[in-house]
């Protein structure tokens, strides 16, 4: 599992978060341009379900990666501090990214999309 010690692990969680955010915003805009759901129906409509589902999947992915990194960080020996550092920072960043995803996606449960 050497990829868990690759320096790209450090920003990876936030890159995933960034891709998710772009997809969320552009998905919302395009969805509203193509087939806007009825505002009266409230938050339960196809667009919110799709966006919410994608967000939950992203959260799950990030939490999974975080756990992998954390375990990897405990596997290294004393003389491999650089590796441990990368895995630990990676784990923290993934966790932070997961929480950020969850928090930003929260309004999906409460608001209709296109008004």
């Amino acid at each position: 599992m050497t990829w868990l010690y690759h320096p790209l692990q450090i920003p990876l969680g936030l890159i995933v978060w960034g891709v998710w955010f772009i997809a969320l915003y552009s998905g919302l805009s395009v969805g509203c341009a193509v087939a806007p759901p009825d505002a009266a129906a409230g938050p339960w409509n196809w667009l919110n379900v799709v966006l919410g589902g994608a967000s939950l999947a992203t959260v799950a992915l990030l939490l999974g990666l975080s756990a992998l990194c954390w375990r990897a960080s405990r596997r290294v020996g004393q003389n491999e501090r650089a590796k441990r550092f990368i895995a630990r920072v990676g784990a923290s960043v993934h966790l932070v990214a997961a929480l950020a995803t969850l928090f930003i996606a929260l309004p999906i449960v409460g608001l209709p999309p296109c008004v």
């Binding site: 450090i10 978060w17 969320l24 915003y25 805009s29 501090r81 608001l111």
Partner: protein
């Protein structure tokens, strides 16, 4: 390794690294000097911007003032905002980083010294052009964010907006060059043994800031180019009637503008995280959490831009996303604040002058953060939008978050500039005057805002309840100005009366204190190896060992400027980076570019074209002076046991520099494609021709042609890496010819496609995409031709395979550009209606 006594060694180093005087000072590329020039120029612009602020406050002091008319007032506040944001805050922070980073990393210079020199001259000339506009009474007057359509031709017919668009683009190019430079130096030129987790925190902050500049500035550069094309060439992008949308400008602007706030704040926070532990006399608490917080801030701040647009009519759900992200970004800032407080709490702090300013920073910045969280709440935002409340908030964050740490840093690093220590007396007066004056001005301004006074109003009627608070604000701002003057006097006087500084006078932990005070042009006579995060705390003798020439790379008899190239993660030595020496090229290129800028301003297009050609020739000449460009070709001696010079490797710093530059370039292109899709979905009167003006088959053929050339180059590069340069020159020449052929074909396609960029935004965007692709393809073709020529001279071969490998990335990039243009311009329209 040691060739003599340190004094003799110093003399020899001076011969190779020394800075010339007189006119030839313009040839200096050394980072210490360039950093200083950045700082001094930034100070000049700060004083200029500060004087403008005082003019504003004088005008607003009393109701119905006629000190300035509305038109002048518009120019003055626009210039104040523009100067402070673009000509003071960012260049100052980058300049300080340019000065400090190599020293902190234990290197002799940044990795592309000529690039930082170019950045500086572009900044100076661009800034002067912009500042000149005010004296010509032609200054931009549409506010520092230049909203369209106010800044578009119908509403701003003079050249005022053009000054902003051209001048700022020029300055931004400077910001991006410095950012590329800093990223690569931090990743690839650290002291041996400085692994990622031993990097000084400041380097993490600057790395993040520089990456943010690399990704955040290009959208604005694109916006400026588009707006200038609309104004000067009549193309349509932001004009609703022709299928554009002024809101696109706001997106492009704030896509840059919000990260900009953190681009200013993060380096300042980095200064705090560097100084605070030194005065607390213990390592910072939670190094790893600070790193995570900095990275998180860097990323999340890109998702906030829409919070500046809550009032333009964006769907509620989208607003809620951006509102949530805005609140979220306060958390990593909070983590840093707690880390600072904990460090102070657990340490044994000593109080020197810089600590006063750090204290002022903590108080003011936290207050500014709180009003920021208030503004992130959409309903409250609607209440105070475009009132003085926002102006107050923004100054709490900017002045508190950037100016206070900056002054602390000036005091802290004074011994570097003068060899002397700051005096404790006058400095205290300066601090309390600034602190008091600042709060008097801006605390009260929150109240003025809540009373409903709009921002950017040049005067107001008496009796609205705004008289008293405005007068108080104005008095406060003059007190603050006196305070700043006191600080300046203090700093000037200390050059004469300050006590001489001992080595490492603050007992700091970082390597910049191992130089002489003030430092020599080469920083260190021998380069240290590091085995901890706090090298000067853990090995106090290091300073003397380095000065005696007992550490690495102390040979200079070969006459080359050198520093270590190390692995980005482990900090192991990989190569010797061979640095270029003093040259006129950066100065000349910047001079010619300002001729382009002025030529465009006064619409002397012939002059501008000539200057562009001259710039291209100079830049090609510049690229010639890389690696081995003199007699003897690649047969350059190095001492036994040393790693190779970087241009004999496959993965030197140039490769990383090209990669980071292409990231910036890609951000610009992505913003362009974003504009295409944005207008497509949102512009109220988007007009599509019944038949696409582009020749679909021709576009496909063109992309295939480019792909063939790219794949061929790929094979050549693979062979080079394996150590074979058979037929290198001929193959490179053929690939160059193929590339130029493809460019010619693209030009013809553009020409034959019958685009009407003045009639519709649809065609205008296509024209820009094609122009962009064309520019890059020509560049790759010409540069490859140049490589063939260098191969002919024997400067490039299997012993020196570096340059073609660096260039290869541009080809891969172009591959991506041309194919994505094909998808966006040909495939997408034909599947999505139209075409």
């Amino acid at each position: 390794m040691i060739e003599g006594r340190p004094d003799e060694l110093h003399q020899q180093f001076d011969e190779v690294w020394g800075n010339p005087r007189g006119w030839r000072a313009a040839t200096i590329v050394n980072h210490t000097r360039i950093g200083l020039l950045f700082l001094l120029t930034g100070l000049g612009f700060f004083i200029f911007g500060g004087l403008l602020a005082m003019l504003i406050r004088a005008q607003l002091a009393l109701p119905d003032q006629a000190f300035m008319d509305a038109d002048t007032y518009n120019q003055v506040f626009t210039m104040h905002g523009t100067v402070m944001m673009f000509l003071f805050a960012v260049p100052m922070m980058e300049g300080l980083a340019v000065y400090l980073i190599p020293k902190m990393l234990g290197a002799r210079d940044l990795v592309f010294p000529r690039l930082s020199a170019l950045g500086y001259w572009c900044y100076l000339f661009g800034g002067l052009i912009l500042a000149a506009s005010l004296f010509l009474e032609l200054a931009p007057d549409a506010g520092w964010f230049m909203y369209t359509p106010l800044s578009s031709l119908p509403y701003s017919p003079g050249v005022n907006s053009d000054f902003w668009l051209l001048g700022i683009t020029f300055v931004e190019i400077s910001a991006v060059t410095a950012a590329v430079e800093l990223v690569v130096a931090i990743l690839r030129a650290r002291a041996p043994g400085m692994t990622l987790q031993r990097m000084p925190l400041y380097a993490w902050y600057i790395l993040t800031m520089a990456m943010m500049i690399v990704l955040g500035f290009p959208p604005l550069i694109l916006g400026s180019i588009l707006l200038e094309l609309e104004r000067a060439a009549g193309m349509a992008f932001f004009d609703v009637a022709r299928g554009g949308d002024p809101i696109l400008w706001q997106h492009l602007f704030w896509l840059f503008g919000h990260p900009e706030v953190y681009i200013i704040f993060l380096p300042a926070a980095g200064l705090v995280s560097t100084m605070l532990p030194v005065f607390a006399r213990r390592p910072i608490v939670g190094y790893r959490w600070v790193v995570v917080a900095v990275l998180t801030t860097g990323f999340i701040s890109f998702a906030l831009w829409v919070h500046h647009m809550f009032t333009v009519g964006i769907p509620h759900l989208a607003q809620a996303f951006f509102s949530a992200a805005s609140m979220l970004v306060a958390i990593p800032t909070g983590v840093q604040v707690f880390s600072w407080l904990a460090t102070l709490w657990l340490g044994r702090p000593v109080y020197h002058v810089p600590m006063l300013w750090l204290f002022g920073f903590l108080v003011i910045f936290v207050a500014g953060g709180l009003t920021g969280v208030m503004l992130a709440l959409v309903p409250f935002n609607w209440q105070v939008h475009d009132t003085q409340f926002v102006v107050a908030h923004l100054h709490y964050v900017l002045v508190g978050g950037m100016f206070f740490p900056l002054v602390a840093a000036v005091y802290y690093w004074l011994p570097h500039f003068s060899g002397r220590m700051p005096s404790p007396r006058l400095g205290r007066w300066g601090f309390w005057l600034v602190f008091g004056g600042f709060n008097l001005t801006f605390l009260v301004m929150h109240w003025t805002g809540l009373l409903g006074m709009p921002r950017r109003a040049y005067t107001y009627a008496p009796g609205l309840g705004w008289d008293t608070p405005n007068l108080v604000s104005s008095i406060g701002s003059f007190i603050m100005a006196i305070g700043i003057a006191t600080v300046l006097v203090d700093v000037l006087l200390h050059f004469r009366f300050g006590v001489r500084a001992a080595p490492n006078p603050w007992h700091a932990d970082t390597l910049e204190w191992a130089t002489r005070l003030p430092p020599t042009a080469y920083n260190f006579i021998s380069l240290p190896s590091v085995d901890s995060r706090y090298p000067l705390w853990d090995r106090p003798d290091l300073v003397k060992e380095m000065a005696r020439g007992e550490q690495g790379l102390a040979a200079i008899a070969h006459g080359r400027r050198e520093t270590w190239g190390t692995d980005a993660v482990t900090g192991e030595v990989r190569e010797i980076i061979h640095l270029p020496g003093n040259t006129w090229l950066p100065f000349a290129v910047a001079l010619v570019l300002s001729a382009v800028c002025i030529g465009l301003l006064v619409k002397a297009y012939a002059v501008a074209s000539v200057a562009i050609v001259a710039a291209a020739i100079l830049v090609l000449r510049w690229s010639w002076e890389n690696g081995a460009y003199e007699e003897g070709g690649t047969a350059v001696p190095i001492s036994a046991g040393d790693p190779p010079l970087h241009w004999r490797t496959h993965n030197g710093p140039g490769r990383w520099g090209m990669g980071v530059t292409l990231l910036a370039d890609g951000a610009l292109y992505a913003a362009l494609l974003f504009g295409w899709f944005y207008l497509w979905t949102v512009a109220p009167q988007w007009q599509m021709p019944a038949q696409s003006p582009l020749d679909a088959r021709g576009m496909l053929a063109n992309a295939l042609l480019l792909s063939a050339a790219t794949l061929w180059l790929r094979r050549v590069l693979a062979a080079l890496r394996r150590g074979s340069d058979k037929g290198l020159r001929g193959q490179l020449a053929a690939i160059a010819a193929l590339g130029l052929l493809q460019s010619a074909h693209l030009l013809w396609l553009t020409y034959a496609s019958d685009l009407a960029p003045k009639a519709t935004a649809h065609d205008a965007v296509i024209a820009v995409v094609l122009g962009y692709a064309l520019f890059h393809c020509v560049l790759a073709g010409v540069a490859t031709g140049l490589q063939a020529w260098r191969a002919h001279y024997g400067y490039v071969d299997r012993a020196a395979p570096y340059e073609p490998i660096v260039l290869g990335q541009l080809w891969y990039y172009n591959f991506g550009v041309v194919w994505s243009a094909y998808v966006a311009l040909v495939l997408f329209p034909s599947t999505w209606g139209g075409g």
